[in-house]
């Protein structure tokens, strides 16, 4: 029997049970242990970001080395990453140059993607009937159009009956959303329990 999977499972399950009990039971030292384990996990998550970035660089370096399609973009990514990381270490994240890198590059790029997203959503809605033509799709699209008409500003003021549409859609949408969220919460609970019981071991080596 290999020892590493057993030890990692015991460590993960014990930590999970301590953190969970720390939430519900306020008997010393459980709450303190919970905070300590949470602090450790935050440190590990910080290191995980560095490992993740190393992975990102390694994948793109491999792309460049094998001259795969899009390797020029990979080279640009690696170069930008090294320059930004180097300057970030030297100058600190609050330096005006670092702030300019965020304000002049990252913010506009993400804003551009947001604009593309708006067009993409309209296009997806237009193509909905090509994928499925059923009663639920019609209801989905009609509800979306009515809701948009009810909330959008027009030169003539609100459309007649907009408050009624907003009330009906608000009540129905809130009820539906809560139903979906309860289902998701139950799914999350059961997934967590499976990990806690060691049935699912995403930490690998099993």
């Amino acid at each position: 029997m290999r020892i590493v999977p057993v030890v990692s499972a015991i460590a993960a399950i014990s930590a999970g049970i301590i953190v969970l009990l720390g939430y519900f039971v306020s008997i010393a030292p459980l709450p303190d242990l919970r905070l300590l384990l949470t602090d450790w996990s935050i440190l590990i998550a910080g290191m995980a970001v560095l490992v993740g970035i190393f992975n990102l660089v390694a994948v793109h370096m491999e792309k460049i080395r094998t001259r795969k399609k899009g390797s020029a973009y990979g080279a640009l990514l690696v170069l930008s990453l090294i320059i930004t990381f180097g300057f970030g270490l030297l100058l600190g994240p609050d330096h005006p140059f670092m702030r300019a890198a965020v304000d002049a590059v990252i913010v506009p790029v993400e804003a551009a993607l947001m604009a593309i997203l708006a067009v993409t959503l309209i296009y997806a809605s237009m193509r909905l009937f090509q994928r499925r033509t059923d009663a639920m799709s019609v209801l989905f699209l009609v509800a979306a159009i009515i809701f948009m008409l009810a909330v959008m500003p027009t030169p003539f003021g609100p459309i007649p009956g907009n408050q009624f549409f907003l009330f009906v859609e608000g009540a129905v949408a809130t009820g539906g959303a809560r139903g979906l969220l309860i289902g998701i919460a139950l799914g999350t609970l059961l997934t967590g329990l499976r990990v806690l019981f060691g049935v699912d071991r995403p930490y690998g080596d099993n």
Binding site: T120, I182, I184, L193, P202, D205
Partner: protein
């Protein structure tokens, strides 16, 4: 106290039903998206194409991590089933911890199938740390890696529209589910067979991940009915003027 009671009840039900399901396997209602996924896995192995599995950007330190863990359970099973393929699946994620876990899960899947030499660290990728950078890094995988099916399961927001659109452009199958309501609406509009709500958490059961996954679905059903009864009873009591 109620939360702890619910947790205890769920744990007991899960243990009991898992033992029962080991003896008598469950019959699951057909969900078209998961049937399509099972077909896509077989097709990818036969055609020599790839599966692309995107696990979203669920932070494991928040409640959003639940969907990521569900995605990892499905990934483990898919890795085992595609281990015979010439082209191993590629996994993308938008959270560093999740990316590391996806690599570990892939390796475990291959090891379980006796094909550990198939594992490449570059098949579990962190594509970006913000929603849009994650989407921007995921799209080239769909475009460049000979992908025949995209399985997008996890915590994603509005950026999922870009991923879905890229899949549509490449004419590859898209099986998608998210725990986020806006992403669910997007997937409803952009996939052939949408997965809504807690159907995301059924992924493991539908790819044959074991009795515990089948039992989880049953426990969810039982707890859902309990919540419905509690809501109705609460409404009735309030209607009758009792608090």
């Amino acid at each position: 106290m109620i939360a702890l009671g619910l947790l205890g009840l769920a744990a007991l039900l899960l243990l009991g039903l898992t033992l029962w399901r080991r003896r008598s396997p469950a019959t699951l209602r057909p969900i078209e998206a998961y049937e399509r996924l099972n077909r896509a896995v077989g097709l990818a192995v036969e055609n020599g194409t790839r599966l692309h599995i995107s696990l979203g950007r669920g932070n494991l330190f928040t409640a959003r991590g639940g969907s990521a863990l569900a995605g990892l359970a499905m990934l483990r099973r898919l890795a085992e089933r595609t281990s015979a393929s010439d082209r191993p699946p590629i996994v993308s994620s938008g959270d560093a911890s999740l990316a590391i876990l996806s690599q570990d899960t892939l390796r475990s899947g291959y090891r379980a199938a006796g094909a550990e030499e198939q594992y490449r660290f570059s098949t579990g990728r962190l594509t970006g740390l913000t929603p849009f950078s994650y989407a921007a890094g995921t799209i080239p995988i769909e475009h460049d890696e000979n992908v025949s099916a995209n399985v997008v399961i996890g915590d994603l927001g509005a950026e999922s529209a870009l991923i879905a659109e890229a899949s549509d452009r490449e004419n590859s199958s898209l099986i998608a589910a998210s725990d986020d309501l806006s992403a669910q609406a997007i997937f409803y509009a952009s996939t052939q067979e949408p997965l809504i709500g807690e159907e995301l958490f059924a992924a493991g059961a539908y790819v044959g991940a074991g009795a515990a996954h089948d039992a989880s679905l049953q426990v969810q059903d039982i707890l859902r009915w309990l919540i419905i009864v509690a809501i109705l009873a609460g409404s009735l009591l309030k209607f009758m003027g009792m608090t």
